[in-house]
Symmetry: C2
Subunit: 221 residues, 2 copies
């Protein structure tokens, strides 16, 4: 039996999952660090993701060493990782990650990259292999589900890829970690999704002292 | 000692607190009910507010009769009402309410309406008196705080009025009831607020089976 298809992202209270678009080459280049736009981008991104960095699971998964916080946030981060048998991501997220992930990429499963450009699989130490799928989102999902077995498939991002899967009715549920942050501008999670075709039900909601984790099941309507 | 200044609204997961703007004269007129735009507005509004209608407190407060659901949602709706010693609202919200509230308006406290047009106080049965304040949002808040005594002042709405108070640093905390609904378009809660001047901290978060109630404290930065 196939697992679920889900996404899990951290969202600002005003609905953004990333600050405004700046070229990721700038974000990850040494020169970029002195660019005010990049500094602002990094400051906002860090504020949004602040709940993740202290977690024991985060440190463990990125091989940053011992220690870190336990508790609800950590349990949820770990459970999200453990349920994931394979991930799907967009080309832009992959390109950014290629510049920023450590050699041992933090997925430790097959990852299917939706792209227009064929490329041989790219195997990383630690169990992550990137497969490049150039025949559409459904094909990438089919391959991810096959690879995941009875575990779940995570649509990892970015926003545009999540929106395409959500709008196509291919997402079973999603989890939002709501961070007490306002962005004002940036990349909205739910743009380009037709709300009239999507019925949501809150299936779980729990909070730590910092953030709220809310899960919704989706159905077509 | 003065109470807190707060607002409390129900928000869609994509950040809207009302469907797109339609003239409220249309929404509340008999002819309007057959207008497809009005029907759509009412359907979306009802979906957003669906958690409220079954509550015991809602029925009680609008004198709709006995019965209704108890539980977390009801406790929160009641506590929000009981903490409120006075409300502030914008002129547009008042105009819409004047057409739709029952004779016994559901506030049962003084309400200060921010307006450009002076008007004598309007006293309703059941303890609601509307006062019309034509010298700015700070003045309306001062008068509301004086009327509220040691209870809290609620910025009742609409979105524009909430945004003005929030952006002026006059809101101490706010509560969002997050409903599992997407609107796609409509009136966004956090538009026209400068996020760089506002630091948020999650102070409470609890969920019923339907919705999540999230409270944030605000600070200037």
């Amino acid at each position: 039996m196939a697992g679920k298809v889900f996404f899990s992202v951290t969202m600002s209270l005003d609905g953004f999952i990333a600050p405004e678009d700046v070229p990721f080459e700038d974000v990850f280049s040494p020169e970029g660090q002195s660019d005010p736009r990049v500094r602002r981008w990094l400051a906002k991104w860090s504020e949004l993701q602040a709940w993740v960095f202290p977690l024991r699971f985060f440190r463990e998964n990125l091989r940053l060493g011992e220690g870190g916080e336990e508790g609800i946030d950590n349990d949820i981060a770990r459970a999200t990782f453990e349920r994931t048998g394979a991930s799907v991501m967009g080309r832009r997220m992959f390109d950014a990650g290629e510049l920023s992930w450590p050699e041992e990429a933090p997925f430790h499963t097959p990852v299917f990259v939706v792209t227009h450009t064929a490329r041989d699989p790219w195997e990383r130490p630690g169990g992550t292999t990137f497969h490049f799928v150039d025949d559409g989102i459904k094909s990438a999902l089919d391959r991810a589900q096959e690879a995941a077995g009875d575990r779940d498939v995570r649509i990892a991002g970015g926003a545009e890829t999540i929106q395409r899967y959500l709008d196509a009715g291919l997402v079973d549920e999603f989890s939002l970690t709501l961070a007490p942050v306002l962005f004002g501008t940036g990349i909205r999670l739910f743009d380009h999704v037709d709300p009239d075709r999507l019925a949501l039900t809150q299936s779980r909601s729990e909070a730590s002292s910092r953030v709220t984790h809310l899960t919704c099941a989706t159905a077509r309507r």
